[in-house]
Structure formats: C-alpha cells, structure tokens
Symmetry: C2
C-alpha cells in the first residue's frame, strides 16, 4: 500500500500497546506526520492540524516533499498559517492509508494485512494518536489545534479527553456528532463498497479491486461535499463536446457535471484503501461528543476550556450544516473561550475550506495573528 504514502512522510511510533476506545489495542502502531517551520525554544508555537477523512499529512510543500499539499494556499511562509511563526504539525489519521497504521497495514501479530481484523476505530483513537505524537515531539501545550470536517470532530475529542492539551482551536466545518442525514450518506457509500463483489469481505487485491464500489462512494461524497448553488453557477446544463461523449449511449456521460464526478472518481478509487475508507467513515457515524457531557453535547462543549476559538462554517454545507458550527461556537463560548464565529457565504459547501481561500484565509490569518503566544 506504499503508493498511498507521500514522499517525505515521517513516522512516530505510538506507545505499544495503544488502547482503542471500543476495545482491543494496537501493537507496534505508528502515525505518519509532517511538519513545517521550527519549534521555538519555549515550545509554545505549535499548531496541530487534524484532517478530514481522506487527506494525507502533506498539507503543503516542505523540505521532504516539494509537491503542493492539500492546503497549500493556506499554509506556508507568509500565508494565513504562517510557517515563519508557527511550527505546524499535521498528523495523518490513525486508521487511514496515507502512512499511519490502519486496516491496510500489516498486523505484526500475524504478518498479514489487518483488513477487517483491525479493531473498531473511533474518532477518539485518532485524537489520542495525534495527542501522543504531540507529546512525543516534546510539546506540552499546543498553541492551536486545527480541525477540518472529520478533523474538527477529532479536535473536539482531543480537547475533551486531554484538558489543557491545546490553548486554542480553529474548528472548521465540524460537528459534535453526525446527523442522520450524514449517517445515511455514509451508510450508502459503505454499502456501495461492500456490495462490490470484488470487496470480498475486505479481501480484495490490486487485481480484484472494488473499483465500482469506490467510484460510487466517491461520487456520492463529492455530491455532498460541494453544493447545488456552486454547481448551478459552474456547470449549469452545459453538455460535453461531442468527442467527450460516450457514443450514442443515452445513459452515458452527457452533462459537464457528470464528467466532473467521473473525473473525481477516477482520481480517487485507486488512491484510497477501501477498508480504511469503511473504518474512517463509520468512526464519524459513531462520534458523539455528548458522551463527555452525560448525554448532552452542549454540556460536553462547556467542559472544554480554551483561551480562544475560531469556529467556521459555511451556509451551503449540507453534510455538516451551519447550525452545527453555531452549536460548537456557542458551547465553546459557554466553556469560557473567547470565540470568533465565522459563518461564511462560500458557495462550495462542506469542502469550501479547501478551495475558498479568499474567505477562509483572512479568517484564519486574523485569528492566528490575535494569539498572544510567540
């Protein structure tokens, strides 16, 4: 599975055994990560970035890998996350397939790939693994934990389980728990993969690979990551040129939006491990911050005590709708944080943080500049 791992990836050996929230433990597990900038002598300028479901730790170009990363426009010298000032760490999610131990990794106990024998994964495990990494790098307190999408759940989990671990937080397009609509979407994505005969209860190979299931899952993902508004402006009802069409097939690609989805699917299906996708996807369904507030998510948020927080949401997000970010902002404020809530009118939906740098950049820059640490 090495083809999924960006060059320049670094590894952190997790404590062994590493206990998993829903039971069982990992032995000899490791976390992939990358860094930018320099940790200052006071060790108080660290930013931790927790990612969405699929990205690697390669946020931006660095010495180990000069290729552009998934948040290249946001992170770098002089950018909103200014690596001249901050020591930026991005942890690849435990359970994923971009270098961290996950279902596609070798189980040292058997010498075989874990596949479905990997223990049940929770967002808390992802957060705990990232916490261990930060501790392992000699950082007692994170200046600011960034979390986007699933990473925003991980950030809340980290702050709930490890009081004082982070002074501030930038929580972007996040949620304290998954709504049934997003559970339904993810359930359907998983079903598409699991119904693919090549999935074969997780025992696929490169030659017999659940490509159709992954393609369906990815297309459905892209539909819910963006927004109807964006696509109306971007694609309208424009048809493909004749040469791009699939002959006379009335059900073949005809509209630009169909070709766009097809392109996204093609780029993804062989770049992400299907079993890892299932595990990460289900962990989002399960996540529920209310467990830290006796069944009350607002109460759980109030137990998180941060100095400052930036909470960003997007009006066109159908997967994690804006009320969910409002809830986080209100709850962190009730917990004592000085909260900036930024509901942005980005047309790009849930994924806006990846592309609408014109709006997200200034919000992030202003927040980080307001932080008093070095």
């Amino acid at each position: 599975m090495t083809e999924f791992i960006p060059p320049g990836t670094r590894w952190f050996e997790l404590p062994s055994p590493f206990a998993m929230k829903r039971g069982s433990a990992l032995h000899g597990a490791r976390l992939a990560y990358e860094t930018w900038g320099t940790l200052n002598p006071a060790r108080d300028n660290a930013i931790l970035i927790l990612t969405g479901l699929s990205p690697s730790a390669h946020v931006a170009a660095n010495a180990g890998n000069p290729e552009a990363g998934w948040w290249e426009a946001m992170c770098g010298s002089g950018k909103a996350i200014d690596t001249d000032r901050w020591f930026v760490i991005c942890a690849n999610s435990l359970g994923g397939c971009k270098g961290s131990t996950g279902p596609a990794s070798i189980d040292p106990a058997t010498g075989s790939v874990y596949r479905l024998t990997f223990p049940e994964l929770s967002v808390e495990d992802i957060a705990n693994a990232a916490f261990e990494l930060v501790r392992g790098l000699g950082i007692a307190t994170i200046a600011c934990t960034f979390g986007c999408s699933m990473g925003a759940m991980s950030a809340l989990a980290l702050a709930s389980m490890h009081p004082g671990a982070t002074r501030t937080m930038a929580n972007i397009s996040g949620a304290v728990q998954s709504l049934p609509f997003s559970i339904a979407i993810r359930s359907l994505q998983r079903e598409a993969i699991r119904l693919d005969p090549n999935w074969n209860e997780g025992r696929y190979s490169d030659l017999a690979y659940p490509e159709q299931g992954m393609r369906m899952a990815r297309k459905l993902g892209v539909i819910t990551y963006r927004s109807s508004l964006e696509w109306s402006g971007r694609f309208g009802r424009v048809r493909l040129d004749g040469e791009q069409r699939e002959g006379e097939d009335p059900f073949g690609l005809e509209f630009q939006v169909e070709s766009y989805l097809e392109g996204h699917a093609r780029r993804f299906v062989r770049q992400f491990d299907p079993n890892c996708y299932l595990y990460l996807s289900r962990s989002m369904d399960w996540f529920d911050l209310s467990e830290y507030g006796h069944g009350d998510a607002d109460a759980a948020l109030r137990t998180i005590h941060l100095h400052k927080a930036l909470v960003i949401g997007v009006e066109t997000d159908i997967l994690f709708p804006l009320q969910q970010q409002q809830q986080i902002a209100d709850g962190l404020h009730a917990g004592g944080a000085d909260v900036t809530f930024a509901p942005l009118p980005s047309p790009q939906g849930h994924d806006a943080f990846l592309v609408d740098i014109a709006r997200f950049g200034p919000a992030v820059r202003e927040f980080l500049e307001s932080l008093s640490c070095t």
Copy 2:
C-alpha cells in the same frame, strides 16, 4: 411485468404511430389511467394529475380498486381534490412500468420486450400521451392540470405544447429544468443500476435481476426526496434494538436511519422496472422548458397563458429547491395567470406533497374552491 399494474387500471390506446420527441415512434402504445368522480355534461370539470417518476395512476381508492392510493388523503369525496365536484383523471407516465407502454413492454414489431430498444423518452412524450388521453375522453379543456415533481415538468410541457388545453394548473415541487445537482444525483442512481452485473445492458430477468443497483438507486433517491431537518427530528441518533442489528458486523445496520433506508429499498427494488427507471430518470435530466422560449425559461413560462395557477414549493427541498418554484410562479404570473405561490415550511423535503397533507391539503382545497367552473 403485470405484477406492477394495480388492479382496476384502465387503458387508452394512443394514436399509432405515436411520434416521440427525440425521434422514432411507438406503434400500438397505450396509456394506463384511472378516474374518480363524474364528467359533467359541460365537460368542464376535469382534473388531470401527472405524477412523479414512480407512482402508478392509482391516486386513491375507487370502484376498480378499493386499496388506498398514493395521494389517498388528498383525493376523494369531500377531500381537497373533491371527487364529488371534479372528474379526476390520473395518467400513468408513458415509459413507466405501471401499465403504460415503456421499456418493459412488448414491442409489437418484434414480439420481444423493448428493453433498451425503446426510443429515447422525453418529458414531452409523457405530456403528449396524457394530452391524447384527455382528448380521447372527450375533454376539450382541462379545468386544472396537477403535476407533482416530474409531473410538474410534464404539466409545464403540456401547457407549452398545447395552448388552451388546460385553464389552470397546480404545479407542485416542480422545475422548468433540472439543476446540475439533481442531474448528478440521478446520474449516480443510473450508474448504480448500470454497474450491477445483473443489469446486463438491460437484459436482466427475474432470476438475474439488478437488485443491488436498484437498492442503491432507491436509497439515494429517498435521501434526496426527504430532508436533513426531518430526519434529525425523526431519527436523531437512535440505534436499532439488539435483535434488529446484524450481529457484530460494525458495518451492518445500526442506526434507525439506516434501517429506514433499507426498508424503503426492499419495498421498491422488485416493484419498479430498472430499464423504465433509467428512461424516466434521464428524461428529467433532458427536460428544459427554455426550448419553448428561445433558450430562455422565463420567456417560455410567459408564453403559457393560464387563468389561474397554484405553485407550491417546500423550503427543505434539496432536489427541486424553492427558487425553482418561485421562478415558475413568477413566469406564469408574467404570462397573465392569477398565481398563488405557496412556499411551505414542510420539513419533509421534495416528497412533502405526499405526506404533509396538513399543509398541502388546505392550499389545494382553497385553490380548487376558487375556480369558477362547475
């Protein structure tokens, strides 16, 4: 395919040949329909109902079939569509599988099922077939044409192509054209069916049937027919009881919303013909009222001259968002109609007209009571 046809269905023989908009023609085609109430001597109390993608013509119980229909709460003696006053006709869509000629029917030229040799279907063909039915029943002018969802497209097509055919219209959760978001959803539904090995380029049988593809298509449909808001209130994060769970499978049904989708899929997959689904689905992508306004949908609406129109939309509809109904209301008003626009706060999304009778019923009743015909 007789299992799809409700008892009590009546048939109308379409003119033969029946020309199809995108080319070719049907020979010996027929339309399934049902009626309620009595046509008055002046023949001016007819209501025509054009349906969404999947319903049969069985709107409500009648002499031929006492079973409840898909709009039972709306249509009947003393109900909003009062069959004591109105002669109600519902035409099953041409190209469907609930009795009308479609891809699952026998092609008289070959003696074999059409399957993918059925000519390309357009919304206009559906509208023209319904128009022929109305004419065949001896009705020169329809008092009110009802169209819901795809049927709302058909109603606009009918009024555009046959000026004077209908005096008024109740256009419900409709659109003058499909937005790229809904094209994307339908494209994915079709892909799920077409990727199912049992689909076999349309040559499936009851024994080798594309059940997995149909199940995915239906689940995705249900997700987009309802709304996140409704499901948050209805399901929240409630789990299934232990006995309803699928053992220890971490990817099995666990949340109520997953079980709900599963139930919908099970009820649908063997009750709708997959090829018919593909044809009807694609016809919605293709429909574009702007063809009747030199590329301008608003101009096309202005050429429709109705006495009155009721246009209903729902705030939570993600498939045909409310702006699309606002556009129809504005355009029909510009064409001279006395328009009532009812944007309803129903939580149930696109399908609200089927279930939120508390809101839709009074709107429809008031509109029909305002009509001056008998």
